[in-house]
């Protein structure tokens, strides 16, 4: 088969950072090629170069055997390259058809929207991209919006499609549907470059895989001839324990009990409907679910940060005490720690130093005080101990003795948050939301181990994650969250058995959350 894309010796530097270092890669026409690597490995830079958004310092690009130079994305689009960004570029107030022809109107005046709509409908039907051409984009689900993005590329006759983390926002069935679409497009001769960090998906859909690490291309392998372990090793540069050992243990008394919890947002939308669950000491209760099914609201109610203009019902009891109406500070003193969904938004102050971030939310503890101020010495010692114990890396590379936390990678920032929350004195209940989102594989392994250790020490843990794999590998019991209530609960016994036949078990969970 012919080569659709050939990159040779691509190098791109930003300041001192070599984002791409002599990357050479060729992709066969009509194949699905996955590009994997940890955050900051250079995947996005490489795809932006191919899409003309960035220009390489050196190296050459060939499309279908012809040397090209893209000075802008427009040039790349003309050469038949299309890209679906992680964050969609759609106009919510326009219809599907209008969005698709935007910038490529056939006429300056009256637009034949009807006819084009019909064409789009046919195009969609052929590839499993069903979406109502006349519908406003703002009324579409995330999965449907993604279909519009793909249709937009097809309408522009793109032959090489770049998809940047396309499954990050999709539910498992939507992901399966997307993969069917991609296969159907490849079967018609289109070439697909799939950028992702989810190894299971790579194995499920791609024909070949290239792995990047620290700006260099570590290698390209045929998907059929590789395994998850091999890919992980290539990504991280060492052996990675993909599955944290999760030995059974006897559980203690109930620490968190949520009873028929209801929440209606100020806009009147019912977000939680009679959600009931219990978490006991020494167990991890995993909540599986597609985002937007009430996870955020549950977290905000647990932590006392919910919008008080909404209406609530039911009760939350932590260690025998009703927490309704308590502030986050009061809830924390009951021995509760919370790792929120969005680290940068709600768990750290990017401009504050590592030392200050390591006491954020725990800064009311007397041990850190001196007079009206803080005890610098204690805070420094605390930071040194945490950095050591939780293996936070990159502190010394940054400038100064106490660099802002923003200088660390996502994984190391998360380790700071995990360290802070797990070391809270008198901790009984740990609430974790997406604890490894945006975190490198190597750091995921360490964080998972910490979570298991915390469980062994007798903490009650509530784990909320949209990564089914994470839920299955860590949880003692699993609750399936759908439209604001626990639709199905898997017992300890069922979860233990499920772990042995994981893909089947994940499919089973998938059915309860969609």
């Amino acid at each position: 088969m012919a080569t659709a894309v050939k990159l040779s010796g691509i190098t791109k530097t930003f300041g001192n950072l070599k984002a791409n270092d002599n990357v050479t890669l060729s992709i066969e026409a009509g194949s699905i090629h996955a590009l994997v690597g940890e955050n900051g490995a250079g995947k996005s830079t490489l795809s932006n170069i191919l899409y003309g958004l960035l220009q390489p310092d050196s190296g050459a690009i060939e499309i279908d055997g012809k040397a090209v130079k893209f000075s802008s994305a427009r040039k790349a689009i003309e050469a038949g390259i299309g890209m679906v960004h992680q964050h969609f570029k759609l106009v919510p107030t326009l219809s599907v058809t209008e969005n698709i022809i935007l910038g490529k109107e056939e006429s300056r005046f009256a637009l034949p929207t009807k006819r084009i709509g019909r064409e789009i409908g046919q195009l969609g039907a052929r590839h499993g991209l069903e979406v109502e051409p006349g519908a406003l984009v703002s009324t579409l689900s995330v999965g449907e919006q993604q279909r519009v993005e793909i249709l937009k590329l097809l309408y522009r006759r793109a032959r090489i499609l770049i998809l940047d983390e396309p499954t990050a926002v999709l539910s498992p069935p939507e992901t399966a549907k997307l993969f069917a679409t991609l296969r159907s497009l490849a079967a018609e001769g289109r070439t697909i470059l799939l950028i992702t960090h989810k190894l299971d998906e790579v194995l499920a859909v791609s024909d070949s895989v290239s792995v990047m690490r620290k700006g260099t291309l570590v290698g390209t392998v045929e998907t059929a001839a590789t395994s998850k372990e091999e890919l992980a090793r290539m990504m991280v540069g060492r052996d990675v324990l993909l599955r944290t050992a999760n030995p059974p243990q006897s559980v203690g008394k109930t620490v968190l009990s949520i009873d028929k919890l209801n929440y209606r947002s100020p806009e009147g939308v019912e977000k939680l409907r009679g959600l009931t669950l219990e978490v006991r000491a020494g167990e991890i209760y995993g909540i599986a679910g597609v985002e937007g099914n009430g996870q955020s609201e549950l977290l905000s109610l647990l932590w006392g940060t919910f919008d008080r203009d909404g209406t609530t019902g039911g009760s939350i009891t932590i260690d025998g005490r009703q927490t309704h109406g308590l502030s986050p500070a009061e809830i924390a003193t009951l021995g509760v720690s919370m790792i929120p969904e969005d680290r940068l938004k709600s768990a750290v102050i990017a401009e504050y130093g590592i030392e200050e971030n390591l006491i954020l939310g725990r800064h009311r503890e007397k041990a850190f005080h001196r007079g009206i101020s803080f005890n610098r010495e204690t805070i420094r010692k605390n930071a040194a101990a945490m950095i050591e114990r939780y293996d936070v890396r990159g502190v010394r590379d940054a400038a100064g003795s106490n660099p802002p936390i923003a200088a660390l990678s996502g994984g190391n920032q998360q380790k700071i948050v995990v360290a802070r929350e797990m070391e809270r004195p008198g901790l009984k209940l740990l609430v974790l939301a997406q604890p490894t989102r945006g975190v490198d594989i190597g750091a995921i392994e360490q964080i998972h181990q910490r979570i298991i250790d915390a469980r062994k020490s007798g903490l009650a843990i509530l784990l909320i994650s949209s990564e089914l794999e994470e839920i299955v590998s860590l949880s003692t019991r699993i609750g399936c969250l759908y439209k604001g209530s626990i639709r199905h609960e898997f017992s300890e016994e069922e979860v233990r058995k499920g772990r042995e036949a994981e893909s089947g078990f994940e499919r089973e969970i998938g059915m309860h959350i969609t």
Partner: protein, 344 residues
């Protein structure tokens, strides 16, 4: 020089640019810029009276600069310094009139300052409360509150408290007077500079300690940098909104120590000469940094009084333009050269 190290000098570049622009304008009016600047320096720094005038004006500006800078730390833009100053000064004057004539200084001075700070704080809290409870933008409400404060003090002054056929109240009890520099140091400056200058320095130092050394400052700056994370960490951002507005208002009110306690010894219509507004520029030039506010207040005070001193050669308005151009450059330089600064 690396690009990163350029950033702290933006205020200095802006000032130089503004001075250059001012020189061009002076030349355009037909005067010799060099001569004008020289005269300005002479009239301000060559005489005790000139120095005193600059220090006196700087004192008010330090207070009104802090009135903007402290709320700025929690992302609030307090435009209401002028109104808060008027309310503070009026409260101090009324309180001073009400005091018995023989009230000792150690009672009178703290009482008047407390009255000034409280009145300013309450006036600022109106905007803070509207923001927290009703989501009203503090820029709009604090601007409007300026007009209301001006109207209230104006009305009360002319209809109730003014000494007949003047625009000022009776003098406050002598115990509430702050000593001027002549009395303090045995000088013969005959300038309005007074003890309030040292109060301003002390208050600035206090503000710096509060912001950078205290636990309150940790909470406050956290709620300004990332309100969501601060709330999550159990910090009440609403309380800090109110707290920062109250502190800002108190600062503006304390300017009364300079105007009422230190200089006029009464409340007089128009005696703030817009210092409440100029405080915005002072705080902006200083990047809302307490130590920087002292420098930028001195600079603006120098331009203010120096402009007055050379009024016979060139219109004073030119120096208001220099002040405005400085601020405009500070705001626009990072925007104009942002790409270059970031491209490191």
């Amino acid at each position: 020089m690396s690009k990163r190290s350029v950033k702290p000098f933006i205020p200095a570049f802006s000032l130089l640019f503004a001075l250059a622009a001012g020189s061009l304008i002076i030349a355009a009016t037909g005067s010799d810029p060099l001569e004008v600047w020289q005269k300005m320096l002479r009239s301000t720094f060559a005489s005790g009276y000139g120095i005193g005038q600059v220090l006196f004006r700087a004192t008010t500006l330090i207070f009104t600069g802090l009135a903007v800078a402290l709320p700025f730390r929690v992302r609030l833009f307090n435009i209401g310094g002028e109104g808060q100053l008027l309310m503070g000064a009026f409260a101090a004057a009324l309180c001073g009139i009400a005091l018995p004539a023989g009230a000792p200084a150690f009672v009178a001075i703290p009482a008047l300052m407390l009255a000034a700070a409280a009145a300013g704080a309450i006036w600022a809290l109106v905007a803070g409360w509207l923001k927290v409870r009703r989501g009203v933008n503090e820029v709009i409400s604090s601007i409007m509150l300026n007009f209301i404060a001006l109207a209230i003090t104006g009305y009360l002054l002319t209809n109730r408290f003014a000494v007949p056929s003047t625009v000022h109240t009776p003098a406050i009890a002598v115990g509430g007077w702050l000593p001027d520099f002549d009395k303090l140091f045995g000088l013969g400056w005959h300038s309005p500079a007074n003890f309030a200058f040292f109060l301003a320095l002390a208050v600035t130092a206090g503000a710096a300690v509060l912001l950078y050394r205290s636990r309150y400052g940790y909470d406050m700056i956290a709620s300004g940098l990332n309100p969501e994370a601060a709330r999550h960490a159990g910090i009440s951002t609403d309380r800090h909104t109110l707290g920062a507005m109250a502190m800002g208002g108190a600062m503006a009110g304390l300017a009364a120590s300079n105007l009422v306690l230190g200089y006029k010894h009464w409340f007089e219509a128009g005696f703030s000469t817009g210092a409440g507004f100029m405080g915005i520029a002072v705080a902006l030039l200083a990047g809302a940094n307490p130590a920087g506010i002292i420098l930028s207040a001195l600079l603006f005070a120098w331009l203010d009084y120096g402009g007055l001193a050379v009024n016979t050669m060139v219109p004073k308005d030119i120096f208001m333009m220099v002040q405005a151009i400085t601020i405009l450059s500070i705001i626009s330089f990072p925007a104009l050269f942002g790409k270059w600064l970031k491209s490191e």
